[in-house]
Symmetry: C2
Subunit: 219 residues, 2 copies
Amino acid sequence: MHALPDPDASQPDDTPAHPQRDSRAGQIYEAAARVFCERGFGQSSMNDVATAMHMTKAGIYHHISSKDELLFGIMSYGMDLFEERVVDRVEDIRDPMERLRAAIRAHVLLYTRDRPKEITVILNEPQSLRGDYRAQINRRKRRYVRFLNQTFRELKAEGRMRDIDPRVATFSLLGMINWIYQWYAQDGRLRDTELAEAYIDLFLNGVVRQDAAAKVSSS
Amino acid sequence: MHALPDPDASQPDDTPAHPQRDSRAGQIYEAAARVFCERGFGQSSMNDVATAMHMTKAGIYHHISSKDELLFGIMSYGMDLFEERVVDRVEDIRDPMERLRAAIRAHVLLYTRDRPKEITVILNEPQSLRGDYRAQINRRKRRYVRFLNQTFRELKAEGRMRDIDPRVATFSLLGMINWIYQWYAQDGRLRDTELAEAYIDLFLNGVVRQDAAAKVSSS
């Protein structure tokens, strides 16, 4: 799983999950992430990656041992970004409601403002990674699931949440946010910050006007 | 795009979107949908489909002209199922709130109870279909987006919906429901009907206890 030492890099690059972005191996990860985003992992070949790098396939294999290693390195880097920008920033917020708001905001903004291609690959290719690589990425995904689940449990224990299964709340929220990749365009129709606040509002308060609830339940 | 007439079938099979399930072409679509679900489209070859059918690749090509045609046929059938079980059943409900509830219920139950592999392929492979095939499937997906959007507009016009952009409501709901494929297991922990009602409740009323809202906004 480790890349070979890169003669072009100023430091030895033995951490494919955090490739030096200015090393040759790092550039290969960058190019591969672009290729996988555009064509999908299954439809991409090491030849495509080589072409994008203006290198030979043998040149690529000097740095990277397999397409699977490349995918794992990209996803690991995507998870690093996700943890750094979302989980690490919000998990110490004491009030669970504020923690939840901050998590939704950071998560939505990461997707809408930054749109890291490594995270696009994670979302587009849930089935492409195999074996132990897949298990490692799934373990990191589960950390966020546990974090959300725990936040909903706290809200419930404090009597601040409606009678909803924390697991259902967790996966509903994940679905709402992860789907953003499928439809949100940075076309100015809806600004990223507006979307983040709208998601917080919709998820916390629902769609129905409460003063119209009586009308609803009698309809 | 049309399959060749199937000598094994009792009727000529010229509708790949609705292959006769008992014809040889129909069986190939069935097998291919299973293969694409398990391995992903990009990682599957016509050889894999042939192996699953105990046929030669030439035998497969007697019925199907390309892997892309196969994917399009599978997705078209998935859209047929979706329209038949969800959109067609609910679009004539006059009251928009009841229509929305019925749509969420039908959509969730289709995914949790029936889990058609053709719909799994649609959800897993949004990027795999190309050109005109992709445009045709996207056109059918947009029909449901328009249906939801229109329902939210009606709710808003009637003063029954909070101040939420109908587009945000539409895509939030689609995300919540489409994500079910990623996590829901038929393990009995959460019954399909319970999940459907929980989704209706959560989406319409949100997570926060309204009598705790004051506490929330002051926190």
